[in-house]
């Protein structure tokens, strides 16, 4: 659609002009970055690699009230978000926007999840292309890229003195108008395209995913999983920080007579995730849980929705305390001989 730009020192002005939106942008607490609602545009900086916690929390918060009720009463008060309230995620990386488009499949499948969908509908995604991919990024291997437009309404490029903005949808156009952006020239568009091409060459890690979704089920009982699961701590880092992991638990909480039903992120890496009421656990050890995490992303999800549930953001690699590296696992899965598999 349209080509726009704004001067680097006008960032705060652009954000200030977006009054009709509730704007979220990366914010730091110490060394840790997370998307927060912008309260002071002067403090927003887009000089960042990526947030530690992915912006998935803006569409499905870690803890979210589904409805409220009073103990002893049969009436419930739903807490579905209002889609008419305009929100904007400003400066989201292409991988994280790509992740929303993958998770949309799940939340719009057999039951259209109003909590997720209302938030998605009401939100404009203004992306920021990556000029310097991080050490463990591999987005091009899974259908993305440092300047991928997937799922975005507009994409910004940091050209030094100015940000070049490419609007991609009607929502993106609306943002450009609301922010009063000036038109960009051919030179800016060329500089942005060149930055995108250069960034793509800088992505150091990769995996050829061809054949992986079909092969993983044949490795179900294969001992190679143990090379990784033997040192797995069984914590929630890889899944909670994954922009496409979307599992939740539902619990009721009461304070005297005031109660709510809420859902909160859950993870298949916790043993209680698959624990049955009987005490039986079909995934009794970290081997089965590690296998499930990888197979879900690279086999079960693509089988159902025809897309790999991984965007190559590298968070699970960066933050795993014991170096369980998803690219290493996928690589070993390709080498593993299916016929070696134990028939347990």
């Amino acid at each position: 659609m349209g080509d726009y730009k704004f001067a680097r020192d006008k960032l705060a002005d652009v954000l200030t002009s977006l009054k009709e939106y509730q704007v979220f942008a990366p914010a730091a607490v110490g060394d840790v970055l997370r998307f927060k609602e912008v309260t002071d545009p002067a403090n927003v900086s887009l000089d960042y690699d990526n947030t530690t916690v992915p912006p998935k929390e803006l569409m499905f918060p870690q803890t979210e009230t589904l409805f409220k009720y009073r103990l002893g009463s049969t009436e419930v008060e739903p807490s579905v978000p209002d889609a008419s309230k305009k929100r904007m995620v400003f400066g989201i990386r292409p991988c994280d926007a790509h992740a929303y488009s993958i998770v949309d499949n799940l939340y719009g499948w057999d039951f259209a999840d109003p909590y997720y969908q209302k938030r998605r509908e009401g939100t404009t995604l203004v992306g920021l292309a990556c000029a310097e991919p991080c050490a463990n990024c591999f987005c091009p291997s899974v259908g993305g890229g440092p300047a991928s437009e997937k799922g975005l309404d507009a994409l910004m490029f940091d050209l030094g003195d100015a940000y070049y903005v490419n609007s991609l949808t009607d929502k993106g156009e609306e943002f450009a108008k609301a922010a009063g952006l000036e038109a960009a020239g051919d030179a800016d568009a060329k500089a942005a395209a060149k930055q995108g091409e250069d960034a793509l060459k800088k992505v150091a890690r990769s995996i050829d995913t061809a054949g992986i979704p079909e092969k993983l089920p044949s490795l179900y009982d294969h001992p190679f999983w143990e090379q990784f699961s033997d040192r797995c701590l069984g914590c929630g880092i890889c899944t909670f920080l994954c922009p496409t992991c979307h599992c939740f638990d539902i619990q009721d909480e009461a304070e005297a007579f005031d109660a709510r039903r809420a859902r909160m992120w859950d993870t298949c890496m916790f043993s209680e995730y698959s624990l049955h009421t009987s005490g039986h656990n079909p995934r009794p050890t970290r081997k089965e849980r590690t296998r499930n995490r990888i197979s879900h992303k690279y086999s079960y999800f693509p089988e159902k929705f025809d897309v790999i549930a991984c965007v190559g953001c590298g968070r699970c690699i960066n933050h795993c305390p014991v170096n369980i590296d998803i690219l290493d696992i996928l690589d070993k899965s390709k080498q593993a001989e299916a016929k070696e598999a134990k028939t347990a």
Partner: protein
Amino acid sequence: MVDEKKLQEKARETLIRDDVRRLIGWKRGTYGFEAAPAVVTDASQAEQLIFDATCVANPASFIAIEEKKPVPRGAEPDTRKVAVMVKGCDSRAVVQQLVEKAYAREDVVVLGIPCLGVVDRRKAEKLFGQTGAQVSAKVDKEKVALDIGGDVKTVDRSNILMDKCLRCRYPNPLVSDFLLGEEVEKWADDDFADVDEFEKMSPEDKWKHWDEQFSKCIRCYSCRNVCPMCYCVECVVSKLRPQWTRRSTDISENTVYHVQRAWHLAGRCIECMECQRVCPVDIPIMTLNRKMTRDVKEMFEYEPGVDVEAEPMLACYNPQDPEEYIM
């Protein structure tokens, strides 16, 4: 320094033994400033094992969290030993686990490694940025030399080692069956200056500090799971009946979790700093642990994880306790 060839030879010798089923040590990670913990079961895997200043993880964490499948009817449980490589700090975890009877002394083979300190990934990444290279590191009494993909960088110890190393009092393993390398001389002492510094804050500022820190928590429980002293089969925070801590994340529940975690380590924390190292959102968990360590030391004259013969602090009574805190 430890001779890697000798370390691998000893590992091979240990894995060949009929009474050993697995060995926990370190291997080079796929990238970056931290080696990966390695669990190996076959002598042919011994050549993966390494030891250098990137070997920060505590292998003792993996002894008690191993999940075993139910033994089939009629079959005998595998009672062979687990071998574990430990630095000085790691060895305190083994000592404390033995004190608590998490397992018996004859269940483990301890391969001790005298250590001159290990690299803090956060400090290294501040200095050199994140790297995709498989970094190796040599440490001596003054400097740390990092090989970052062929590019050798030399840094003063104080700028790159883990804080625990800068105040380390136990560089040599306190329990071991074999020592891999010569014992080293202790270079530091611990005056709890960090705790003094924190205590200077007003109560209001402390609340503000912890509110901000605990608000970040995503309850991934990596601090609990990596802790060598957190080996309960069912953790109190995972219990549903009764549910002592809600699963929802907010400042109240997060605080309950962190205070609970800290108190359950009173007189047990051996300060390996793994909880703080693994935290994805940089919560300074050790600040709580360190305060407790000093309180335990002053109030009970007790130091966990240094004496295999000791009684657990909360299971013993000493009429000579200072008792200054009792009104």
